[in-house]
């Protein structure tokens, strides 16, 4: 293991005394074990905590008295705690896990400086814990996606800086002559996130910009957390695991490069579409809408590329857990992004803005796309770290079906519900459809609330289904960590495929 590597040597590879050679994949996987497991366990803890917060918030939407006496769990706090636990707790820790493993594999060199990574991991998780405690006790900054109180954010920034330094070192020591597209995405994300995070922190919290500029910075950040941090990591995973599991190269590498660069050009402009119809200059909104529509280029390019790679191999979905999650995520990436482009249009936003439709879209992107891809990646990575098989195929199936069906129900119900809500709020004539007296104008707000109830209850039910999936996943992971490795097995059997299978899938 390269843990003994001197940091000064790493900063200047030319003076390194250590002859770094191209390492075997199994050695590389083993070298990432400790930091990768640290981030996996953190991510797992946060997704369970985050889902519980989500369920409490969701129940409060249709049963307002639920836990109504606990000030820590009032809607404003628990919903915010949910968002931060899943974004900075689950999704970011899972991203770090995938980054560590993929960077080491794609650089073709043993993991360097695990201590650096562990330090970053401790800083990050302590920061998120303090932040969420602060939110629950009422210290939230009230700026969406930046609610973590200012006394916790420097910890997150330090953690991220350490992670960035590590990635640059790994990249410089890379032993692969080619930089695979996943590495482009990962390195770009590691550059972009500190940029958007630091600028947003300064301009909204430390020295707040005045008026609508603050709102612009806020939504530029919030949208780019998805677009420039989670999307690149999700796509990096799809571009690696999809061809790797199938054993066939990506359909068109040219398209994957085109997808990367067009995303880099257009995504960062799109955040303004959250303020369509708001008090910001019309040209700024139009620029945001134009960029959102231009995003169709990378999205369609990526969608075609993934689909063409899968053609002829759909039967593989039956035997690979990783592939199921990855393909589900990739399909939803295309769907959510296309819907997102159209949501930015003024005519569409007029109906759906400030309705449950937005919540559907957020979960479609961060759950049905990103989280499912992360699950797929973990199903691939963990057996290679521990050299054990997953203990239960049944639990994997429960996990997949509960989360896939749960997330689809949630997205569908809230998308339809959001449209219904928006139309009722906008169009007085629809009062007739509710059985009210013709001419009841406008539809009373309470009627709209009543109509929404069935959608909100369905959302809670889908949330319970998703929670069941997470429990199955957690049980499987903990079981796998604890179960002893049988002495005669040197590698999990799932790496060695039977000859019959090789022939039919070739």
């Amino acid at each position: 293991m390269a843990s003994g590597t001197n940091l000064s040597e790493s900063l200047n590879p030319a003076t390194s005394s250590e002859a770094v050679k191209r390492a075997e994949l199994s050695e590389i996987d083993a070298s990432t074990k400790i930091p990768a497991l640290f981030f996996l366990c953190s991510a797992l803890g946060w997704i369970l905590i985050g889902t519980i917060f989500a369920l409490i918030a969701s129940f409060k939407m249709h049963t307002p008295g639920f836990l109504g006496d606990a000030e820590w769990l009032t809607f404003g706090r628990v919903r915010t705690a949910h968002l931060n636990a899943v974004i900075y707790g689950w999704a970011s820790n899972a991203s770090f896990l995938v980054i560590i493993w993929l960077m080491a594999r794609l650089s073709r060199s043993l993991l360097r400086h695990p201590i650096l990574l562990l330090t970053a991991g401790v800083f990050w998780n302590v920061g998120v814990t303090i932040g969420i405690y602060g939110i629950l006790t009422g210290d939230s900054t009230s700026i969406e996606w930046l609610e973590i109180p200012p006394y916790a954010t420097p910890l997150l920034f330090v953690a991220y800086a350490l992670m960035g330094v590590w990635a640059v070192i790994m990249f410089r020591f890379g032993k692969s002559p080619h930089i695979y597209v996943s590495q482009w995405y990962i390195l770009a994300a590691l550059f972009w996130f500190p940029w958007i995070y630091s600028v947003a922190q300064i301009m909204t919290i430390w020295a707040p910009a005045r008026g609508t500029v603050q709102a612009l910075v806020n939504w530029w950040f919030a949208h780019n957390v998805l677009g420039l941090w989670f999307t690149p990591i999700g796509l990096a995973s799809v571009y690696y695991f999809l061809p790797k599991v199938l054993g066939k190269p990506i359909h068109s590498y040219y398209l994957s490069v085109l997808g990367f660069w067009s995303l880099a050009i257009f995504y960062n402009w799109a955040g303004v579409h959250h303020l369509v119809g708001g008090p910001v200059p019309a040209w700024v909104q139009t620029a945001g809408i134009a960029a959102s529509i231009m995003m169709l280029i990378p999205v369609v390019v990526t969608g075609i590329n993934h689909h063409m790679t899968m053609i002829g191999s759909f039967n593989a979905l039956r035997y690979s857990p990783t592939l199921r999650f990855i393909v589900f995520g990739a399909v939803n990436y295309t769907l959510v992004s296309v819907i997102g482009s159209f949501m930015s249009l003024r005519g569409w936003a007029e109906i759906t803005h400030f309705t449950q439709h937005t919540i559907a879209h957020a979960h479609h992107g961060l759950y049905a796309f990103f989280t499912m891809v992360m699950f797929g990646a973990i199903y691939y990575i963990l057996p290679r770290l521990l050299l054990k098989e997953w203990p239960s195929a049944a639990l994997i199936s429960v996990h997949f079906w509960a989360t896939a069906v749960g997330s689809l129900i949630m997205v569908l119900v809230l998308t339809v519900g959001g449209f219904h809500q928006g139309l009722l709020l906008n169009t007085p004539k629809l009062a007739n459809t509710l059985g009210l007296q013709p001419g009841t104008d406008p539809v009373p707000f309470l009627e709209v609330v009543r109509v929404m109830n069935k959608y909100l209850v369905s959302r809670s039910l889908s949330g319970i289904l998703i929670f069941v999936g997470h429990l199955a996943f957690a049980v499987n992971v903990v079981w796998m960590l604890l179960k002893p490795r049988s002495a005669e097995v040197t590698a999990p059997t799932l790496f060695r495929n039977p000859p019959e299978m090789e022939v039919v899938t070739r």
Binding site: M203, A207, Y319, I396
Partner: protein
């Protein structure tokens, strides 16, 4: 003081843009945008070659019946 942060954000944005442009220039200069087939195959090697799937449900791979069904 506010102008300072606007200036800071502007310069920072320019630097990030410049780094992306440099990234594109660098990749073109170092042959990363040539020979795409080689690029796509770069994640495969002798231990995990093209043509061999690498992920299965635990224990399922052992069952001959399942494997036959795939054909």
């Amino acid at each position: 003081m506010e102008w300072f942060f606007y200036a800071f954000a502007f310069v920072f944005a320019l630097l990030v843009t410049a780094s992306a442009v440099y990234g594109l220039y660098w990749s073109s200069k170092h042959g990363q945008l040539r020979d795409f087939e080689k690029g796509a195959a770069s994640i495969f090697d002798e231990t995990e070659p093209v043509g061999v799937p690498t992920d299965f449900f635990p224990k399922k791979a052992k069952k001959k019946k399942d494997a036959r069904k795939l054909g």
